[in-house]
């Protein structure tokens, strides 16, 4: 069990700075998910923790020890690679036993540990097989097994599920979560999939352009994103954004764009006044837009109309893609909706759920 602390960690490849002064604390037993678009530096960050890349500046501290100069094998961590990196010429048993053999663990204990890990993962029957005789999901399990037998103080995962098909991915996601619940080992998990981040992380850190944009619990980040990037990255379908002007008419505050004019209720109006009138970016999640026909309007709800472009019934709910003026947005509405492509639809917006971002800095205004 261990705590991992990154202090002002920077990594440069030649002139390119991939990781820019990152500070992050991963507490003992936490499952930290680093999520961001490809090329944002999250995998490099993980490799720095693993010791596969050298830190240019800053400190990495594992369990109170600065490990910048410590080789990977002495950092007491285990890593699952995106490609699994199973040794093709060894069978499953030897793949799992390799690290223990390297560490001169007695044979009987190796056997115990491998059998136990195989039992946890349900791969007892595969121990004699070679990796190429396994399906994607089985390989994934072996890769996990290889890390479990080590009983390391930190698990590192580098996009471990991205090579699996959608159904299996969902299944393995749950299994890794279950495993973490059983073992409670500090874990760092890298992914570009915000669904994995939301569902698996006890904490998540959103990385973009080598900088951590925000870190916190998944729900915190979902509900109070600190900037437009985070707001747009987390959530599916993503948050809708409108560029609009806040203006005052006869003492009433409105948010207006080409195709939209929405009255602000008092609380939001007060906030708008505090930051001044002018242009802002507004964000609203699809689930806070409703089909007016089936939604009982309460206080703080405003109605506007949009032209329906696409209707995507998901079963339990329906995504309706609409346009108004130049703006496009998605509403997540009841499957009973009567939305038809090409027709107008009345949409209810819960104005209390609107996020406001600075147009230049993209920062959330509170």
């Amino acid at each position: 069990m261990a705590e991992v602390i990154l202090e002002n960690v920077t990594k440069k490849f030649g002139d390119v700075t991939v990781v820019k002064g990152i500070n992050l604390q991963i507490k003992d037993g936490e499952f930290m998910v680093l999520v961001g678009p490809s090329g944002c530096g999250k995998t490099t960050l993980l490799r720095l923790v693993a010791g596969l890349e050298e830190v240019t500046e800053g400190k990495i501290i594992i369990n109170g020890r600065v490990v910048n100069q410590v080789p990977p094998k002495d950092r007491d961590l285990a890593m699952v690679f995106q490609s699994y990196a199973l040794y093709p010429h060894m069978n499953v048993y030897d793949n799992m036993a390799f690290a223990l053999k390297m560490r001169k663990v007695p044979r009987a204990e190796i056997d115990d540990r491998v059998q136990e890990a195989a039992r946890i993962l349900g791969i007892e029957k595969l121990l004699e097989r070679k990796p190429k005789q396994l399906s994607g999901g089985q390989r994934q399990r072996v890769a996990l097994g290889r890390t479990i037998v080590r009983k390391p103080s930190v698990f590192l995962f580098d996009e471990p599920l991205s090579n699996l098909d959608a159904k299996l991915r969902g299944q393995m996601r749950a299994e890794i979560s279950k495993l973490h619940f059983q073992l409670k080992t500090t874990s760092i998990y890298v992914t570009h999939d915000q669904v994995e981040a939301m569902t698996m992380g006890s904490k998540i850190a959103i990385v973009n352009e080598g900088v951590i944009q925000q870190s916190g619990t998944p729900m915190d980040i979902y509900e109070t994103p600190v900037n437009k990037f985070v707001a747009g990255f987390i959530g599916s379908p993503p948050m809708n954004f409108f560029e609009a002007v806040v203006q005052e008419e006869n003492g009433r505050v409105f948010m207006a764009s080409e195709g939209l004019k929405i009255h602000w209720q008092e609380k939001l109006a007060a906030k708008a006044k505090q930051h001044g009138l002018g242009e802002y970016i507004f964000g609203i999640r699809p689930e806070n837009l409703h089909d007016a026909e089936f939604f009982e309007k309460v206080e703080g709800c405003e109605v506007f109309s949009g032209q329906v472009e696409v209707v995507e019934p998901m079963g339990a709910e329906t995504y309706v893609h609409l346009t108004t003026g130049k703006d496009r947005f998605v509403a997540r509405v009841t499957p009973k909706t009567g939305a038809r492509v090409g027709r107008q639809m009345q949409v209810v917006m819960e104005t209390a759920k609107v996020h406001v971002f600075d147009k230049k800095t993209w920062k959330a205004l509170r």
Partner: protein, 282 residues
């Protein structure tokens, strides 16, 4: 309907022509080999002008003479020692060098790879005089070690390229995973990389072995005592300036080729994957 018939007729003609030309080439390839067999099993000393593939009076006399009246087994041993040592030393040096070229970035890497390539562009005989001087200077004339040295150095460039190409296809993650697992660089090389590179190692080993096994000119230049001959040199001496015994030569040629044929059969399964290795991942 009519058109289709015509086309299929034309196709059949083309097919037949193709078959015929392939057959011609096959005969052209196989006939000389069969002819060697005929001479080897015949009793004539010279070359007969008959086109027949069967000797007039079949006999094993030629084989008997080479195997038991001449120091054949000493020559065989010489050849085996030289070829095996060349293969082993060549592979070891080429594998380590190829691995370094594949995995590490160091000053002189590109220059090194290029110079290996350039040495391959000169005909081997061009190197004969400098090589002779070096081997002489080392006092290794008439010594099998001298041949091993020369052969392995000349086999290394090709082997390095071949192996580097193969190592390039082995995913880096395997090594990184092993590093985290606690293996040292050396151990990773022997336990992970080499076992995975078996097909490429087999091909390069066979290549080195055959180069050394078949080489004549350098061996003939460096080896002057009859007992230090390798097989190709010994064979050549059956067809001298004054006496020409083609029967012995042919019998010897067959005996010399047997180990290579055997090697090919043993390494067959690696060769097929080895030769395509690097081109297609899998």
């Amino acid at each position: 309907m009519e058109a289709k018939k015509k086309r299929s007729f034309r196709e059949r003609v083309i097919g037949a022509l193709l078959q015929f030309s392939i057959l011609l080439f096959a005969i052209g390839t196989v006939y000389p080999v069969l002819w060697v067999f005929k001479i080897a099993f015949g009793s004539q000393r010279g070359l007969s002008l008959s086109l027949s593939l069967f000797p007039a009076q079949p006999t094993l006399e030629n084989f008997n003479y080479i195997l038991f009246k001449k120091p054949f087994f000493i020559w065989l041993l010489n050849s085996l020692i030289v070829a095996a040592a060349t293969a082993v030393i060549g592979i070891f040096l080429a594998a380590t060098a190829g691995y370094a070229f594949s995995r590490f970035r160091f000053p002189g890497r590109t220059a090194g790879l290029l110079s290996f390539l350039i040495t391959q562009m000169f005909p081997g005989t061009l190197m004969m005089i400098p090589l002779y001087l070096i081997v002489n200077w080392l006092g290794l004339l008439d010594n099998l070690a001298g041949l091993v040295l020369v052969y392995s150095t000349s086999a290394i460039p090709f082997s390095v390229w071949m192996l580097k190409g193969y190592f390039d296809t082995i995913p880096k993650e395997l090594e990184e995973s092993a590093l985290i697992d606690g293996a040292s660089r050396t151990l990773i090389f022997y336990k992970i990389i080499l076992p995975l590179a078996k097909p490429a190692l087999a091909v390069t080993a066979l290549f080195s072995f055959m180069t050394a096994w078949n080489e004549y000119i350098l061996a003939a230049t460096f080896m002057n005592r009859e007992l230090s001959y390798t097989l190709p040199v010994a064979l050549r001496n059956f067809v001298g300036q004054f006496a020409q015994d083609w029967g012995l030569f042919a019998a010897g040629a067959i005996l010399v080729s047997l180990p290579i044929v055997a090697l090919f059969f043993i390494l067959q399964k690696y060769l097929v994957s080895g030769l395509t290795a690097g081109s297609v991942k899998g």
